[in-house]
């Protein structure tokens, strides 16, 4: 047996209606990797069973239609609802899981928080692989970690109008990066002050110590529109960029520094 060579391996599975990629990089043995990765996907499938608003028999659907109570649900439901309330308070109501959906009907839909929360929580199985760096990409929202002294993950921020094109690249060693906006699915974030879909910005990307909060803040910043970036700049530990409808990019000071450090050659 020779000294372990660093290898890189990726998995992808469709859960919660979105492709979820796991990347591992390091010297952890493959059999331990497979066990950890399967634990992540198993946990995410459980989360989907409980929180899917597309399944009529999920606990969240039954709770939403009054067929059950929080007390009778999986403890994760209470955890998520508490986080949703925290998110509403922290974002001055711009992130609100009780807002009306695209059909105008108000119902309980914590999907906007569940994905980031679940990906970040499930990633702890990968942190047990001490010799590996990891990232979990849940439909564009990424929880990641690098071992001490190891190089960062270089994450491209996708341009909302040019699939495959990048706004920029940031190098991260921990925490999360999340993007919300009107790309791919059309406008689906509601401005609570007007009740209409928020369209003042095309996309907001937030980097921070936690994917859950980066994701919540990105969604809330889209809802806030042009004022979102200033609000984000005031959030300790978080940096952000906004792509405006005309394609221009605005960023917090910290984010500007991060992007300049990793400007691709020739741009």
């Amino acid at each position: 047996m020779t000294a372990a060579t660093a290898t890189r391996r990726a998995w992808v599975e469709q859960i919660m209606g979105t492709p979820i990629s796991i990347h591992l990089r390091g010297t952890a043995p493959m059999r331990r990797r497979v066990v950890a990765v399967e634990a992540v996907y198993a946990e995410l499938r459980d989360v989907d069973r409980i929180f899917s608003t597309y399944r009529l028999d999920s606990e969240i659907s039954r709770l939403s239609s009054g067929l059950t109570t929080v007390e009778r649900c999986d403890p994760a439901v209470r955890t998520v609802l508490d986080l949703c309330e925290q998110a509403r308070v922290r974002t001055d109501g711009y992130f609100d899981v009780h807002l009306p959906g695209p059909d105008g009907v108000a119902r309980l839909d914590p999907s906007g928080l569940v994905k980031g929360w679940a990906a970040e929580r499930a990633a702890r199985h990968l942190a047990a692989l001490r010799d590996d760096d990891h990232y979990v990409n849940a439909g564009g929202d990424i929880a990641l970690r690098c071992g001490e002294g190891r190089p960062p993950w270089r994450i491209g921020v996708e341009h909302p109008d040019r699939p495959g094109g990048l706004v920029g690249v940031v190098a991260l060693t921990g925490g999360g990066i999340a993007t919300s906006g009107t790309a791919h699915r059309g406008a689906h974030i509601v401005d609570p002050t007007t009740g209409h879909p928020a369209t003042a910005v095309r996309a907001v990307t937030v980097v921070g110590p936690s994917l859950l909060w980066a994701d919540v803040y990105a969604t809330a910043a889209v809802a806030r529109g042009l004022a979102g970036l200033d609000w984000l700049a005031a959030q300790d530990g978080f940096e952000a960029l906004t792509v405006l409808p005309d394609g221009r990019v605005a960023a917090t000071t910290g984010m500007t520094t991060m992007l300049q450090r990793h400007r691709p050659p020739g741009s």
Binding site: R8, E158, G165, H184, R185
Partner: protein, 164 residues
């Protein structure tokens, strides 16, 4: 460099598929080449060779953050991909860490329209491949992708490059 090459190959393959789908109104197609070339590194000069075997085993991840590492020339064949239009296979050449050529080894052939589209698509493919190479990224953050959008995304290419 090897990892980058794999990512580019997947991106290019995905792009070939994209352009191929646009021609889907044609009659039943046949392939220009009966059999595909074996996937993997075809030739490698002036760089330390690593084990062959594309996208099948863990990809050796050499010295981290070494942009444009390696000064030799490397030619890599992608895996043959079967589409409704027929098989597609691409090859890329890399010199001094930069992609210098993209060749479609096997492509669907269904008459003049296909050739026209392919002639139009190739320069675009090369440009896209160059762009993804210069970015040198490990992952992509973007607004929630549908499964349809994912298939042709840069993240899908990165996943495929290190996937099973």
């Amino acid at each position: 460099m090897r990892r980058i090459a794999l990512a580019i190959l997947s991106t290019v393959a995905a792009l070939v598929l994209l352009f191929t789908y646009r021609t889907s109104r044609g009659p039943a197609t046949r392939s220009t080449t009966a059999t595909a070339a074996p996937p993997g590194v075809v030739s490698q000069h002036g760089v330390t060779p690593s084990a062959t075997g594309l996208a099948g085993t863990g990809v050796p991840d050499g010295s981290p953050a070494a942009p444009g590492a390696g000064h030799g020339t490397m030619t890599v064949n992608g895996t043959r991909v079967d589409t409704v239009q027929g098989p597609v296979q691409v090859q890329i050449k890399i010199t001094a860490g930069r992609i210098v050529d993209v060749v479609v080894l096997v492509r669907p052939a269904g008459g003049p329209h296909h050739d026209e589209v392919n002639n139009y698509a190739l320069p675009l493919l090369k440009e896209q491949a160059l762009r993804s190479q210069s970015a040198e990224i490990d992952g992509v953050s973007g607004a929630t992708a549908t499964s349809g959008g994912y298939r042709s995304s840069l993240q899908a290419a990165l996943d495929a490059a290190s996937g099973r």
